[in-house]
Structure formats: C-alpha cells, structure tokens
Symmetry: C2
Subunit: 524 residues, 2 copies
C-alpha cells in the first residue's frame, strides 16, 4: 500500500545543504560499494529464489519457507545471529492447492481466477448455477436464504472498463522530483496522517466488505459453493487480489466457500448474460488448505555487529517486508525490497566493512495485513507499551530505512517530516546523484513498515522509487512476478541503501529524531 501525503512547514531545498557540510563520507568504501553492487550483484538471484523458486510468501508455509531460505542465505554471507524471531500469535496459515473456474454454458470459457486469501474450498470439481444478486442492501439478502444451495454467487456490477491512454509504466520526471523537493514540512498531526489515512482506507475496505461478509455467512449457512469477486482496477488479465484475514484469526472455523477473484472481463460478461436471462453454467474446483500447527508470526533478523566500543550498542536498521499476497509471487511487493535489503548487507559484508554501529537487517511478515511484523518488533523491543516511551534498545536505534515501493530505482528519500535529517541525506545522496538519486523531500509516505518506527519517534525513512508499473500492473496482482522486476533498478537501489546504512553506521552522531513542530510552523 502506498499513500503519499503532503505536509506543511519549513521549506527544504538545495539551500539547506549549506548547514550540513560537516558530513564526513568514506568515499573509498562508497566506491567499493558501487563496484560490488554493479559488477557482482546477486540481487536478481536472490529475487529469483524469493519468487520463482519459493512461490507466494503469504502467512503460512509459503512465508516460512522463504524466511528460512533468507536466514540460511544471510548466515552463508557471514551475518551474525540470523534467525526467525516470533513476534506473537498470527493465526492460521493458508495456501492454494487447486483453482479452476470455467463457464460451460452457453459455451465453454475457462476463466482467470484466483482464490482470495483465506478462501475455502469446493472440495471437488463441481458444476454450478449462478445466483445473481442485484441488491446491495443486506436486509434483502434474507430473501435469498432458500436459493443458495450449490450456487455460485455473482453480485451485480455494471461499471465499464476503459482502454488505457496512459502508459502502464512511468518514472518520476525532473519536474515531479523538484516539486517533491520543494514541498513544505507539516505539523505533527498532519505528519501522522500516514498512519491514520491508512487506517481510514482499511476502515473503508472493511465497510465495503460488510455486505460481502454477510453474503458469505448466509451463503455458507445455506450451502452455496462459491462467490465471485472482481475489482475496477483489474484489466487485460491482470487481477488485483488480496483477501479477508478474519478467516485466519485464531480459533475461527474456515468455511468451505470458494471466494474467487476473477478477471473483470469474465465478471462483467457473466453479469451481462445473467441480466439478459441467458442460461449460464459454471464448473469449478477450488482447494485451499489452512495450517494451524504453528500460529506464530515470524520476522527474519540478522546483524553485522558494530565494532566501535562506544557505539556498537547502537543500531542502524534496514528492512523490508518479506511477506506477500498470493496471486503471484510478490515480486515487486516486496521480494524487490527484500532482495535489495539483503543485497545491501551482502555488499557490506563482502567488502568486510567494520561499521562502528551494529547494522541490523529485518525482513517483516504480516505487513500486508497491517504491518504486524514491524509493529510487534517495535512493541517487543523498542517501546514500553505501557508508557509508549522508548526502551533503552529503542533509544539506541539511530535510524530505520525501508524499501517497499516496487522495482523502481531510488530517486531520493522521504524525510517523513524529519527536517534535521534533510541536510544529512542531501549530502549522502551527492555521490549517487549520477545514478538518478537526487531528491530529499520533507514529505511523508505511508502504508509500510517505517511507520511502525516513525509513530514512536524513531527516525524511520522510506526511499522515493520510480513507480514503473507498480500501481497499474503489479501491486497486489497476479502479475507480480519475477519478469516484472527491473535488474538495473534493483542494483542501483541496493547500492544506495548500502551507502546510506554504511554512512549511518559510521557517523559520529545518530540520525537526529524529529523535533516537535511548533504551532507557528504548522500554520505556515
């Protein structure tokens, strides 16, 4: 998820570079980082294992298999204490074991279908009629009570899809980057919108699902076989698929109702045929599996220990969520970020750098269902949840750097309202300006794991990345596959992350935390 939020306050621009000229950069090491990252990159090999070889990394065996592969790989590279760390109880794991849907009358057409996450099963290949429901009022659902047995439910949708006169892929233009660099800082209230906006979005999603949930409950009670879904964003065989994770909650009994996302073209055709009273028959075979043997959620952690006696208790963190949705192999969301972060520590370890502070890589889980992995890591380690104050360990975190906006190369960094970090990062970007990374913006970006740090005042940042086809083709889709990764972009990103992490680990001071914004600044 990605929510960019504008905030108001102090202007940041090239002029701010004037008050940060004391950054001492270890240019020799930065050069080596670039050489290693460009000439001996393993980022695509890592991505290949996380996607093609591993498969979807949704909570359950798919995630755990990938997490163990990462742990072993990180250990192999020489990182210390590589481990899976349980962050708490998540609930049941889930995986798809078969998915087939076709129309068999008025003619045969196989359909592009993916079970929504935590969907149930049909138990075998079944023939089925459609029950077409035009109502959107939950009270009207009772009228269908006796009509649901062995039916597949289709809720009326009549929107039209449009051909795209805009390219699926793009990169930030110079103008866009300059505009971002010129944005103003905001009040703390506005700055926290990242979190609250995401909460509102998820609330809206939940409301929209109330009807569907009631529908599903009734459908299960009455012995319906399945329910079909689509989204207006789906097109051309690209499906956007996520899922309801209520079914994964501890103790819940998964219902045997096949909950399928299908191609919008197939969905709208079925609606038109039903409205025209053309008899339609389906056949479907959906088999999913729930895993209750291990209900814990796990993050992957690994360190490059610090070497400065005075600073080695301090930590520079870098992370990305390793979990994914399941319709494809989560290549851009977020094998990309995970592979970039792993490549960054591989580069540093391979070069044998001796960081003053400890460098800690975290690969999170449960991000897609609400940043669970990172939130719980912060709660378990960095914050006293009774007082909301940072623990000693929390105070020792200099900064957290996150990558989770797809395959695009890094164009700069979001300050997340942290004005004091601006001049530092501007200088850190100078050696990689030629790679296209130039922009420091006071802007916030939301929807991913740096928020778990930022909300407690730990400097948490995410990089600005070119969008490529993140919002049009890959983000939460069945097309989020290895082939949609851009090797040159990922190499560049790993080099820049490695540079930032190294700089942060070597700096005399930690990255400054955000200053409280005054009322005067907030209204400027």
């Amino acid at each position: 998820m990605k929510n960019k939020l504008l905030v108001a306050g102090l202007l940041l621009g090239s002029s701010v570079l004037a008050y940060g000229q004391d950054e001492k950069l270890d240019m020799a090491t930065l050069d080596k980082i670039r050489q290693e990252g460009m000439q001996r990159s393993q980022v695509m090999e890592t991505a290949f294992y996380l996607t093609d070889v591993n498969g979807p990394r949704i909570q359950g065996p798919g995630y755990v298999k990938a997490a163990n592969w990462c742990k072993d790989k990180l250990t192999g590279w020489g990182l210390q204490n590589a481990k899976l760390e349980a962050w708490g109880d998540w609930g049941k794991g889930w995986a798809v074991e078969r998915c087939y849907l076709a129309m068999t009358a008025p003619y045969y057409k196989s359909m592009i279908a993916v079970p929504r996450a935590w969907s149930g099963s049909t138990n075998k290949l079944q023939a089925a009629d459609i029950l077409f429901i035009s109502e959107t009022d939950t009270t009207a659902l009772e009228n269908y009570r006796s009509k649901l047995k062995n039916k597949v439910i289709l809720l009326d949708q009549s929107f039209r899809i449009s051909p795209s006169f805009k390219a699926d892929a793009d990169r930030f233009t110079d103008e866009e980057l300059q505009k971002m660099a010129g944005e103003a800082a905001g009040s703390r209230g506005q700055r926290m919108q990242g979190d609250s906006s995401m909460r509102r979005l998820m609330q809206a999603m939940r409301s929209r699902n109330v009807f569907n949930q009631k529908m599903r409950k009734l459908a299960k009670q009455e012995g319906a076989l399945g329910i079909l879904n689509t989204t207006q964003t789906s097109k051309d065989g690209t499906l956007f698929v996520s899922g309801d994770y209520a079914n994964a909650a501890l103790g819940s009994t998964p219902d045997d109702l096949a909950d399928l996302s299908i191609a919008v073209e197939d969905y709208l055709m079925l609606c038109r045929l039903m409205k025209a009273n053309v008899p339609v028959k389906l056949e479907l075979d959906v088999k999913t599996k729930f895993f209750a043997d291990d209900i814990k959620g796990y993050n992957v952690l690994a360190d490059i220990p610090g070497t400065d006696p005075k600073l080695k208790e301090e930590v520079v963190m870098l992370g990305a969520h390793l979990d994914s949705w399941h319709a494809a192999t989560g290549a851009t969301d977020n094998a990309a970020g995970s592979a970039v972060m792993m490549e960054a520590v591989r580069i540093l370890k391979t070069l044998g750098v001796k960081p003053r502070r400890t460098i800690r890589l975290a690969l999170w889980s449960g991000e897609e269902q609400g940043l669970h992995g990172s939130k719980n890591y912060v709660a378990n380690h960095l914050v006293n949840t009774a007082t909301n104050q940072l623990t000693k360990e929390g105070q020792n975190v200099s900064a957290y750097f996150n990558v989770d906006n797809g395959t695009g190369k890094i164009r700069g960094i979001y300050l997340q309202g942290n004005e004091a970090a601006g001049p530092i990062f501007s200088q850190w970007l100078k050696p990689v300006n030629d790679l296209g990374a130039t922009t420091v913006t006071i802007q916030n970006t939301g929807g991913t794991d740096h928020l778990s740090f930022d909300r407690f005042g730990i400097p948490g940042f995410q990089f600005i990345q070119d969008r490529i086809e993140y919002n049009t083709r890959t983000h939460h889709t069945n097309m989020d596959t290895y082939d949609h990764l851009q090797p040159d972009d990922l190499k560049q990103a790993a080099i820049i992350v490695a540079s930032f992490v190294y700089n942060a680990a070597m700096r005399d001071q930690k990255i400054p935390a955000k200053q409280p914004v005054t009322a005067q600044q907030a209204t400027r």
Copy 2:
C-alpha cells in the same frame, strides 16, 4: 492482421477536392442516417450477441451459431435473401471443452492457458513432468525420442519482457492523419504488397512452426501429453493465441497432444526453474472436440435490393469477417466490424431507403486462416478462375467496403491505390468531418477481406480506424472481449459506412476501378 503499406505515386490532398465537385449528396437521407445511428443504435446489442452470448466464432459450431443468428437478425430487419452460403470445403470444426493447467511443484500455481486452435486433448486430468528442450535444431530432436512419454514439452525461451512506457491505447493524431493524406500513390507492384506481404508473413510463421510441428509429431508418436507455447507480445495476463490449421485439414487425424498457449510470465518462470534444476510438476486437463459432420465453410449474405431498373443488377457490397480466433470472443476482431456492417444495413433498412443499386452485406468466414470466405466468394461469383477475368457479376460490383481494424472510430479511408476514388470519397467524408473522419489516403492496408476484391481489380476499400488497443491488447488475444469495445466509436463507424454505401448505391456511375499505373508514375 493489419499491414499498412506505403505506396508511391500521385499526391492526394485537399486540392483534389477541386476535381470532384460533382458529387451529388442526398443530405436529407445522410442526416437521417446519422440520427438513426446516433439515437437508436443497436450496434452494441448486436455485438453483445456476437460475443458474450455466442462465444468464440472459430470455424465449427461457434461460427455457424453466430452465422445463423446473423441471418435471422438480418431477415428480421427486413433484408432480402439472408442466407448462409457454402463457399467450399473447409475441414473440421473445433471447440474447447475444458482447459486447465497448473504447476503443482515446487508450489501450486494455476496458469493462464488457452489451447491453440485445433489442439488435441489430454483426455483427463493428468499429472506430468516437463521435458525441457533447449535445442532449436530439428536433427537434435531424435535424441529425445525415448524421453517424451507423458511429458509436457517446454522449449527454452530466454527473452525478457519490458514494462510498457507507451500507452496501450491511442488514436491517430492530426499530424499522423495529415501525413497519411499526403502519401503518394505507387506502382501496381508495390500496391499489391498487401497480399504478398501477408503471404510472406504467413510464410515466416509457417517456417517458424516447422520446428514446433516436427516436435509435435515426434511428441505424439512417443506419447507426450502436451506442449507449451508463448509469444513475446503476451504480457500482464494478455495472451496472443491463434493456431495451426493443418489439423483441421480434411482427412487429417487430430493428435491427442494438448497444444497450449500460456502467459509469458508463467512460461518464462518455468524455463528459469528448469534451467536452475528445480523439480517442477504440472497438472493439466485439456479437452477439445473436432467436428467432421459438416466440413463446409459458410459466408452470410443478405441484400437490400436495388430499385433502379437500369442499375439494380449492380451491387455495392459491404462486409466484415465474422469468424474469430477462440481465446476470447473476437470482439474487436471482428465482431466490431460485423456489428458495424450489420448496423449500417439496419439503419438503411429502417429508414426505408430505395437504393438504386443493390446493397449486399457479406459476413465472411475463414478470414483468420487466410481470407478463405471472401476469396472463395470472389472465385465462386465474381471471377472466372480459369482466365482471372471478371464475370458479368464481378463487373457489376461497384465497390466493396470492409471494416476489420478493431473498435476504433473511422478517421477516413484507404484508397488502396485507387486514385480516381479519392476525390469522390473526400466529398463523401465532408458531411462526417465533424465526427472525426477526414482523411483520404492513397495508402494500402492489408491483411483482410478487401484484398480478395482488390487483387482482381474490383474496387475494394477499408476504412482508417483509430487503433485504440488493437495491437497491444485485443487482436488475437484472450482479452478480445465485449468490454474492450467502444460504443461511441462503433456508432460513428456504422453511420459512416451506411453513408458511404448509400452514396455508392445512389451514384450515377459505379466507383471507378483503378487505372493501371504507368512506369513513370511508379518511379516518382
């Protein structure tokens, strides 16, 4: 298929209007055509029946069902002599009855798959290993003879797909149209490139298929289950699928080998896994059916009889191919053209026009496999195939108008090298200039049924249409569905076709045939 060909010769531009000012247009009727086409259009309803309700219109029951629906609809609208006319022996019909493919190891992933036309079956749900073949030399195939049993064959492909930085959909710009209008006419030799270029293209396709054909033959002999295919044009869930029609030839024994087009993302992933020696398992269930009870090919024909005793033997023809490939419902290729042509005659019939010449609608079959319907219509009716001279019936055809370039609105007309028709059509376009149709180009366009007329000197034309997403998303794809049709564009096209056909039917003279191009002109 669509091949635009540049030709050299006389310049045509706005100035040519000067020598065609004698066109007498029945503006009252043209206004009525526009009113009927805009306000009471049935073009989308027709398209709905041809696509959603009928399904794929590939040779066989799918095509015949649609053809009969058209015949009945045309009769209902009051056209005369609506009929299916056999044009000769085609071969076996074919239809898909089930298609399912998934990877089951290293993890489960259902795949987007469509049988190539005239594919055989697997007979039931089967589990299978992959036989991965890197060789491209047919002599190397013998080495695999003993290894094929129950395998699914995967031929190595290692191209990369790229994100699209260009929009899927576009319309002709004013500049592009002006350039087309300014193109020069060419020699007869160049002008005929439409045909020969298509032949070359098909020859290239055939050569490329030689390896696959040999592979398939060996595979069948040895009891392989199937073979996988993809194309570099496929992307994002959009598959380009056609097929080999050798299997449809009379007397051929279809082999039970599942010949599947699959999503390029799935195909390349399988290649990568095989190259990395990761054990891969598939399961697939493909059932197709061949129909040998009626091996004839049929066109649909219907008339609005002429009323002028001196001219009613003459005929103005309009047509489009009704057949389609099978991966979707052939909405833009070419339910669009068929619906537009049907709508054009519906408008004329509804208005009760009394055309001087007979207006004849033709909906062709077998276009996708080589313009069979239109070629055979011409051979059966319009040309003495012994002498290649026009029959009396052929001499009586004033013109043939074709639509087969997708859902886009009409922007003008290709003269197909017929210079004398230019000033006539320029004037005919004037009343519809405001609808975006302005351009007369001497250019050729190829790949469809007007060529069957043009090659014998019968004035045959196709309209210039906005491309929308024809080449990127719909042409011969699994996404060529009703939802990719643009209602306003199709309404506009039907109005313009109806106007052209009406003007041609009322004109004192037939549309002039092409003049032989002199050597001097050819080299200008």
